[in-house]
């Protein structure tokens, strides 16, 4: 537990330090903070594997008053993922030339985002989630504004929607508190009954969370906000921030909601997930802009998470938890890679459109390769993390002939994702009209973009320990 707290506190502390002290070598301070946070996160994960879930009541209050932190295998894994991605993104921002102008403001905000995320993963309390969601939202919006004037409108829309979602969430939370008198998840889980008030409260909370997670059909704000943000910010938002509400949604419906409510809700969530997969994928196949394509792919891929969550609830199958969280982790890695690569390419060509990718296999081979490799995991090609997750997801669908339509949905979604990934990759193989040569410019940034894509493929080799971790949890 202490290690997890360190992983949370270090980014906050470093953010303050960067803001107030303004040392000359800011990038090094940030990178060191990220490394420390990562090491602490790994230690937290190891301690969970060793000695099981641990919890901490903040300030020593007893329940039901206490705000409780809990470290479980799932959120330990998420904390590690968060730290890894932050480290990579921070290194990318430090080495990429086009991130130069935004650095001053980027460092403290990114650190703040990191700390808030870890706090959210650790919290087991409805109101503390509200606070961390707000922290996350404010930091995220501020990060989007760094792209300059043209992003302000998207940032404002993002902020207003995010605030609206928070208030919807808060109303639901208050209703639950009014009914049961506690905010603690574990306590609520023992108390809830399937009555009208609980149902309304849960639906309000879910609507708020789904809006924040850009789950279809509440996704309309995401492509604009994520594609207009600066590249490292896009990566953080798409990879991590949208996953936070999904985490709460999962705990809420699988723990707090009584099964009489969760089973029918699961069906609708799965259906919405299917809608996200189809419509997000279709939009990604249609858009003429590179970063928008990547953003729509996030909408689509979140559909997998929602599908896994919905079926988990609907069939009351705890096995699907592993699928859900491997999806989240694999998507986080792959999407980081994709956004960093796409951003680097866009910065080099100065154009947003897809056809500016002509001849990229020659001029920016590593970036294009990173995009393709990450895309492979999104499609679910073996042996990648995305494949493992998809494999776990389709196993229960196949065992009963009655469930086969869900498998058909996954097939179509897979084909759509292949279509939009290869739409980009095949452009890169097109002959360029201008004779370009490989530029040394931005080499290290390109390699950093490739790193998470390689990690997601390596996940496949470590699938056994990962799955064991999930099993420990569901047991």
């Amino acid at each position: 537990m202490n290690a997890a707290l360190v992983s949370m506190v270090v980014p906050f502390f470093a953010a303050m330090l960067v803001l107030m002290w303004r040392p000359r070598q800011q990038s090094w301070l940030v990178i060191v903070a990220s490394i420390v946070s990562l090491l602490a996160a790994v230690m937290a994960l190891l301690s969970v594997i060793d000695s099981g879930p641990q919890s901490l009541n903040l300030g020593g209050w007893e329940s039901p008053l206490a705000i409780r932190f809990q470290l479980m295998p799932v959120n330990a894994l998420l904390i590690v993922t968060t730290a890894v991605i932050h480290l990579i993104v921070v290194c990318f921002a430090a080495s990429s030339h086009h991130c130069q102008p935004i650095k001053q403001a980027f460092w403290p905000l990114a650190l703040l985002l990191h700390g808030s995320l870890v706090a959210l993963w650790l919290s087991m309390d409805l109101f503390n989630w509200y606070v961390t969601l707000e922290l996350l939202g404010l930091a995220a919006v501020a990060l989007v504004t760094l792209a300059g004037q043209k992003a302000l409108r998207a940032a404002l829309d993002y902020l207003l929607l995010s605030l609206f979602a928070s208030l919807t969430y808060l109303l639901g939370v208050v209703m639950l508190y009014g009914q049961y008198g506690t905010l603690d998840i574990a306590l609520l889980a023992t108390l809830t009954e399937a009555d009208r008030v609980t149902q309304t409260a849960l639906l309000l909370i879910s609507a708020g969370l789904m809006l924040k997670a850009a789950l279809w059909p509440l996704h309309l704000w995401l492509p604009a906000a994520h594609s207009s943000a600066p590249t490292p910010v896009s990566a953080l938002l798409s990879a991590l921030v949208v996953k936070a509400p999904l985490f709460i949604l999962w705990l809420l419906w699988s723990r707090v909601a009584p099964s009489e409510l969760a089973v029918p809700m699961g069906f609708w969530l799965a259906l919405l997930g299917g809608g996200a997969l189809l419509i997000g994928g279709w939009s990604a196949c249609r858009t003429p802009h590179l970063k928008t394509l990547v953003a729509y792919s996030t909408v689509a891929q979140l559909g997998y998470g929602l599908l896994a969550l919905g079926l988990l609830l609907h069939w009351q199958l705890n096995d699907l938890q592993a699928a859900l969280w491997l999806f989240v982790v694999a998507h986080a890695m792959a999407k980081t890679s994709m956004f960093l690569a796409a951003g680097e390419i866009q910065a080099a060509t100065g154009k947003k459109r897809l056809n500016s990718l002509r001849g990229m296999t020659l001029t920016m081979p590593v970036a294009l390769f990173a995009f393709a490799v990450a895309g492979g995991s999104l499609i679910g090609l073996p042996p990648s993390g995305g494949f493992i997750a998809k494999w776990l997801l389709i196993q229960p669908m196949l065992i009963e002939p009655a469930y086969w339509p869900w498998a058909l949905l996954v097939i179509i979604a897979t084909l759509l994702s292949a279509a939009y990934v290869f739409r980009v990759v095949s452009q890169g193989f097109r002959q360029s009209s201008v004779s370009a040569t490989a530029s040394e410019h931005g080499k290290s940034a390109q390699w950093l973009a490739l790193l998470p894509a390689i990690l997601v493929w390596l996940m496949a080799l470590f699938s056994e320990p990962l799955l064991q971790l999930m099993d420990v949890f569901s047991a």
Binding site: G359, P382, P383, T414, F429, R430, S463
Partner: protein, 505 residues
């Protein structure tokens, strides 16, 4: 007991092309020598390792390597007689094609990219041949799709990109179907290792619908690569790729990967007993027979050499599927040996087509008039390949068709003989005119006046030696395997060994 060598060897065979491939990616365009060295080092070390394993398997040794992967499905690489048939074929042809490709691409752009992906393709092919269970097969099957795509679009022209998209649309869809089939079988029966006679018979009563659906999914998915009838459309399109790619990948590696998958599925996953209960092979047989005839008719309609060869591939690969679907031991021998023989002959034909195109810029059949005077050796190799395809003894193609025909009689399916006869006649109809034009027709222009080339100094210089020698080498192999079919080391003898092990009671 497994010794260390017996676990390492299967991995080493895959790595012997994978590692040079990855190293080649990092080379600069100008590092010509180093690239060739790496390529050849990979080729020869692979041949050496495969020879070693061939020897071991013929002695009855087991080769197996595994690491954990999915729950209940490890990644397993193992060498059995069947996998080695395919591994040996691809390794030998990789040697020929590598030399050919070095000559063919001399001085062109993107060579590091080309040879890098080329080695990846070979690794994926060898990996799927050595795969010890369905999940491992799936992994390499999908990798093969990915690694081939850059080679199809290699030229980067609009036509190439369009063909690449068609290629992907087919193969990725096929890959998804295979994935679903594998996952469905895993859900129903787990994923044990491939085993002669299959492993599904215990669950056949319980899951008839599931097993039937899985078979249909897998055959459709594998059928994409094997160019079975409704899903063959990518193959003629993919001919836009450079000649070595068409030769090795689209005549041998990719299409054979599909056919090999069907062999594994029928013999080592479902097993003959289960398939007879489910009555699934009749449909497969009809599909394969239809593809054989349809491919031949379409070949007849083509005016471009490479397109005609492509449709001929569509037709010829289905001989393998047909032989497998008959479920008899003799037909199985025919199918397995055709896997090798067709590869040798078809790669020869593609090399020749590449030589014509490279040397004299000849792409169409009508331009072939009198080619025998200008390029007698290539034309001779072409003749060997074409006659072999028709099934003229003693060239290799005759042997496989003989066994396939016998197999049809043995399994009591005489109508298949008519398919073979019809297809043989069609083969003759679309190959003989080419031979006639090449040897006997008068050239449209005197070769001396041809803009592309002067009269060569000697007969051995009709084209670049790196293009000529691989062509002659594979043509020679096609003849030798035919003449020496009865010897102990021929593909035929090996096929008989496989069948003896597969059909053992």
């Amino acid at each position: 007991m497994m010794t260390d060598i017996q676990t390492i060897l299967p991995v080493a065979i895959v790595l012997s092309s994978l590692i040079p491939g990855l190293l080649i990616f990092s080379l600069k365009e100008s590092q010509h020598r180093l690239r060739i060295t790496l390529n050849l080092a990979g080729v020869f070390s692979k041949l050496l390792l495969v020879g070693w394993m061939l020897h071991g398997v013929s002695q009855g040794q087991q080769f197996s390597f595994s690491i954990t992967f999915l729950p209940g499905a490890d990644l397993i690489l193992q060498g059995d007689a069947l996998s080695l048939q395919f591994v040996a074929l691809s390794s030998v042809l990789w040697l020929a094609t590598t030399i050919y490709a070095i000559g063919y691409l001399e001085g062109s752009a993107f060579r590091s990219r080309f040879f890098g992906y080329f080695s990846l393709c070979v690794s994926a092919t060898v990996g799927l041949a050595l795969a010890g269970n369905l999940v491992t097969f799936l992994v390499f099957y999908e990798l093969l799709t990915l690694a081939t795509f850059p080679l199809v679009v290699h030229r980067g022209t609009d036509a190439a990109i369009r063909a690449g998209k068609v290629y992907l649309a087919y193969t990725v869809s096929g890959g998804v179907l295979v994935l679903m089939g594998v996952a469905l079988l895993h859900a129903l029966a787990g994923t044990p290792d491939f085993i002669p006679g299959g492993y599904l018979s215990p669950v056949v009563d319980q899951h008839q619908a599931g097993l039937t659906l899985a078979f249909v999914l897998m055959v459709l998915g594998l059928g994409v690569k094997a160019a079975l009838l409704p899903v063959h459309g990518w193959l003629p399109q993919a001919m836009v790729a450079p000649a070595p790619v068409s030769a090795l990948l689209h005549a041998v590696a990719v299409v054979k990967a599909g056919a090999f998958g069907i062999i594994r599925l029928v013999y080592d996953v479902y097993g003959i007993e289960t398939l007879s209960i489910l009555q699934l092979t009749q449909g497969l047989m009809i599909l394969a027979a239809a593809t054989i005839i349809y491919g031949s008719i379409r070949a007849l309609q083509q005016t471009e050499i490479k397109k005609r060869l492509a449709y001929s591939t569509v037709s010829q690969v289905s001989y393998i599927t047909l032989g497998v679907a008959m479920l008899g031991p003799i037909a199985a021998i025919g199918a397995l040996v055709h896997l090798v023989h067709q590869g040798l002959m078809k790669i020869t034909l593609f090399f020749c087509a590449g030589n014509f195109a490279e040397t004299l810029n000849i792409h169409h059949i009508r331009e072939m008039n009198g080619l025998g005077q200008r390029m007698p050796l290539t034309m001779a190799a072409f003749t060997v390949g074409a006659l072999g395809m028709i099934g003229v003894p003693p060239i290799a193609g005759f042997i496989s068709k003989w066994y396939l025909g016998l197999g049809a009689l043995e399994t009591g399916q005489p109508w298949i003989l008519w398919v073979f006869v019809g297809s043989g006649l069609l083969n003759a109809a679309y190959f003989l005119p080419l031979l006639y034009r090449g040897w006997f027709a008068k050239p449209a222009v005197e070769w001396a006046a041809h803009p592309q080339a002067r009269r060569p100094a000697s007969v051995w210089n009709e084209t670049h030696w790196m293009l000529l020698w691989p062509t002659l080498f594979t043509a020679l192999l096609a003849i030798v395997t035919g003449i020496l079919a009865g010897s102990d080391f021929s593909p035929l003898a090996w096929a008989q060994l496989i069948v003896a092990r597969e059909f053992a009671p």
